[in-house]
């Protein structure tokens, strides 16, 4: 008897605490796949979260909670459910591997809003998906690489052969070929999103093969640091990595999630949140180019020009004529690729010196 009384009291205490917290402010929660100190993917999501908190009035208005380095298997559902039960009003799950877990938990908690980055499943009305058109930045990088490279070959450190990454490689190649039709790209698959040791090895291997510009689709700053040591140029990834290569970084594709997070959490506060499937890029400032550095002024101007054209919608990186790697035609003159094809992209365009792992 005493025990059950105690448990009722405890439950009441928990409940009253819960409602008190919910009345005072909105609680936004983030599930991260890596450490917030990776200076890449997760770092930028966390910066976006902090920016959102700041924009909406600080800690007194928005309570922020996050979990780092959550594995993308059976553990993900537990982490998300824990957030759902701890009073979160909106939960952002920031990696593709959380897709099924996010939808499973969303089904159990219809009053909580879920936002899944880079996925395609929205099985419940309280699940949105969001992603950025990073390939727009890759195209600009390609233009710069072909303009400054003397070797005519760039190195590309790739993570996993998923559509996102393949799309990036293709956009980079198309950008480069718009300057130098014979430009080649060598690809190394690091099979990791974040492993400074492996990424550094990949950078060294590429430089030894004669590339004089490298770009990466992995999250650490190691390739930038290797490029700096060897005296070649490189592009940053996800965040502005200029302090890791002041003489080395040409520019960087910055993932700016702050606008989106602010907009979505505000919608929860205002009660106007609705399911969306967002894929936005430079025009909405979800993809931002870091300052153009360490290149001649005419290249800077060329890069700024193409950036402006993409931003205004005047130009799309995937505009024909484009051939597939085997020489067969893909896009006819003036034809623009459909989003559906891009989001499932599993082939290279002409000019990639690599075989896509299938």
């Amino acid at each position: 008897m005493k025990k059950s009384l105690l448990s009722i009291a405890a439950a009441a205490a928990v409940l009253s605490l819960g409602t008190f917290a919910a009345e005072a402010k909105v609680k936004a929660c983030f599930v991260y796949v890596g450490p917030i100190g990776d200076f890449g993917w997760t770092y930028q999501h966390h910066q976006g979260a902090l920016e959102m908190q700041e924009a909406l009035g600080g800690e007194s208005e928005v309570e922020l909670a996050y979990l780092e380095s959550v594995p993308e298997g059976a553990d993900a559902e537990r982490a998300i459910e824990r957030f759902a039960r701890s009073g979160c009003n909106i939960i952002f799950t920031t990696s593709f591997g959380y897709m099924d877990a996010t939808n499973a938990v969303a089904g159990k908690f219809p009053d909580i809003k879920f936002e899944h980055a880079t996925g395609y499943k929205r099985e419940h009305p309280n699940v949105s998906t969001y992603n950025s058109r990073f390939h727009e930045g890759r195209y600009v990088q390609g233009v710069i690489a072909a303009s400054i490279s003397e070797a005519g070959v760039a190195g590309y450190i790739a993570s996993f052969p998923i559509p996102e990454v393949v799309m990036g490689i293709n956009a980079f190649v198309l950008g480069a070929q718009s300057v130098n039709p014979d430009f080649k790209v060598k690809v190394v698959w690091a099979n990791t999103w974040f492993d400074p040791g492996k990424e550094a090895d990949a950078a060294k291997a590429l430089i030894d093969q004669g590339v004089d510009v490298i770009t990466q689709h992995t999250d650490s700053t190691a390739p930038m640091q290797v490029a700096a040591e060897r005296g070649i140029k490189a592009f940053g990834q996800a965040s502005d990595m200029i302090k890791f290569g002041p003489e080395t970084q040409l520019t960087s594709i910055i993932d700016d999630w702050g606008h989106y997070y602010t907009e979505r959490v505000k919608a929860v506060i205002d009660g106007t949140w609705e399911q969306v499937d967002v894929w936005e890029g430079m025009a909405e400032e979800h993809v931002v180019m870091a300052e153009y550095t360490n290149m001649p002024d005419d290249v800077k101007a060329k890069a700024a020009d193409i950036e402006a054209k993409i931003k205004s919608g005047e130009f799309d990186p995937f505009t024909g004529p484009v051939n597939k790697q085997d020489g067969s035609a893909w896009l006819a003159e003036g034809e623009v690729a459909e989003a559906g094809v891009l989001l499932g992209m599993n082939f290279y365009v002409e000019g990639v010196d690599d075989q896509l792992p299938q």
């Binding site: 448990s7 928990v14 450490p35 298997g73 059976a74 792992p357």
Partner: protein, 377 residues
């Protein structure tokens, strides 16, 4: 100066029994110091670590955490129980992670290759194939050890990477879900291929945990009540004595590897058919390696392993609760987990051994004086 561990002639039964509690006490003290230094209330931290995940025992609102505990502990216990047979018989199977993946792949063949085959027989077949796959994969290092006298630590470990990469290739290539936008991973399993949940209304714990308990009791019975168990221990402690007793060391190598491979394979297919519901490239997150710690934490006794598996799973859950509630980083959480393991294993070691400081015989007095003068001692 050198530190030596001297085996104690007899162990104190009292200290053997209380050693886990001493370790827990030391962890609590060290943890409290760490959390205080970080500016967090140590009592809060310890509450979230050890009590919060267990509040489900009396609070129905938190009952889901007990289910999550069972989900996290199931593969650890299953694998560690099998490893206990290996380690007791002096077979160092470090490749349970590979056998876990092999079992997951073998069991997944049915729902992936024959998605139209819907029958109640699908799940039992998957479990049997998972066990067979794990056992077959474990037989490779066993065969190499018996036939060529290779070091099973190296072969079993290296085969982990082979299994992981093969699985990676499968789910990106031939087994990839055609409707998955080219992302890696197979189709979601149909309902006949999913392990049922034990108590669906309260949480998502599945039958894998029941398998773990059955395996633990069965192996405990085998080890402590049967001649086979005696054979395992004799061959492990003294192969020569085992030979005189007429036991075959080669057959024991296969026996130990096949049992532990089969249980690791069962863990693999239970994970895939349970909480994950499809095969992907991320199922291998180190259960096979963590299970080695669990096996020793449970002192290679299958019933102790059940407790050890639950405790380790508890620290994962508690770690998350602490991260959210106290806003400490996941590095702090892992450091705390490391402390717990360190103190447990250190306490156990000090029960079996005592420390003796020995002056290095090679160091002559003059040299000693010189190093002392240099301030190096």
């Amino acid at each position: 100066m050198r530190v030596e561990l001297i085996k104690r002639p007899q162990q104190s039964a009292l200290f053997s029994a209380v050693s886990p509690f001493i370790a827990l006490g030391l962890t609590l003290i060290a943890g409290a110091i760490m959390f205080s230094l970080l500016g967090k209330n140590p009592l809060d931290a310890l509450y979230y670590y050890f009590i919060d995940p267990l509040t489900g025992i009396w609070d129905p609102f938190n009952r889901w955490q007990l289910h999550e505990l069972a989900i996290k502990a199931a593969p650890l216990i299953l694998i560690a129980v099998g490893l206990s047979v290996c380690f007791l018989s002096n077979n160092w199977n470090i490749g349970a992670e590979g056998q876990f993946v092999a079992g997951a792949m073998a069991g997944s063949m049915i729902p992936v290759l024959f998605p139209e085959f819907h029958s109640w027989i699908v799940l039992p077949l998957m479990l049997i194939m998972g066990m067979a796959g794990g056992a077959a994969y474990a037989s490779i290092p066993a065969f190499l050890k018996v036939r060529f006298n290779t070091n099973e630590i190296l072969t079993s470990l290296m085969l982990v990477y082979v299994a992981q990469l093969f699985n990676d290739w499968l789910v990106r290539g031939p087994w990839r879900n055609p409707e998955g936008f080219s992302f890696p991973g197979t189709v979601r399993f149909h309902e006949y291929a999913i392990l049922p949940q034990i108590w669906p209304d309260a949480g998502r714990a599945h039958w894998g945990f029941i398998f773990a308990l059955i395996a633990a009791v069965a192996v405990w019975f085998m080890l402590s009540k049967t001649v086979k168990g005696f054979e395992v221990k004799v061959l492990g402690q003294s192969p020569r004595a085992g030979r005189f007793a007429g036991f075959s060391a080669s057959r024991m190598v296969f026996f130990a590897f096949l049992i532990s491979g089969a249980l690791a394979g069962l863990a693999g297919i239970s994970e895939v058919a349970g909480p994950v519901e499809h095969l992907n490239e991320k199922i291998s997150i180190g259960y096979g390696f963590t299970a080695i710690i669990v096996a020793f934490l449970g002192r290679l006794n299958p019933l102790g392993i059940v407790a050890a598996g639950l405790i380790l799973a508890l620290t994962y859950l508690g770690g998350e609760a602490a991260q959210i509630s106290l806003q400490v980083s996941d590095k702090t959480v892992r450091a705390f987990q490391g402390m717990l393991l360190f103190f447990v294993l250190a306490s156990d070691t000090l029960i079996h051994y005592r420390i003796r400081l020995v002056a290095s015989p090679a160091a002559k007095p003059a040299e000693l004086a010189a190093t002392e003068a240099a301030g190096n001692v």
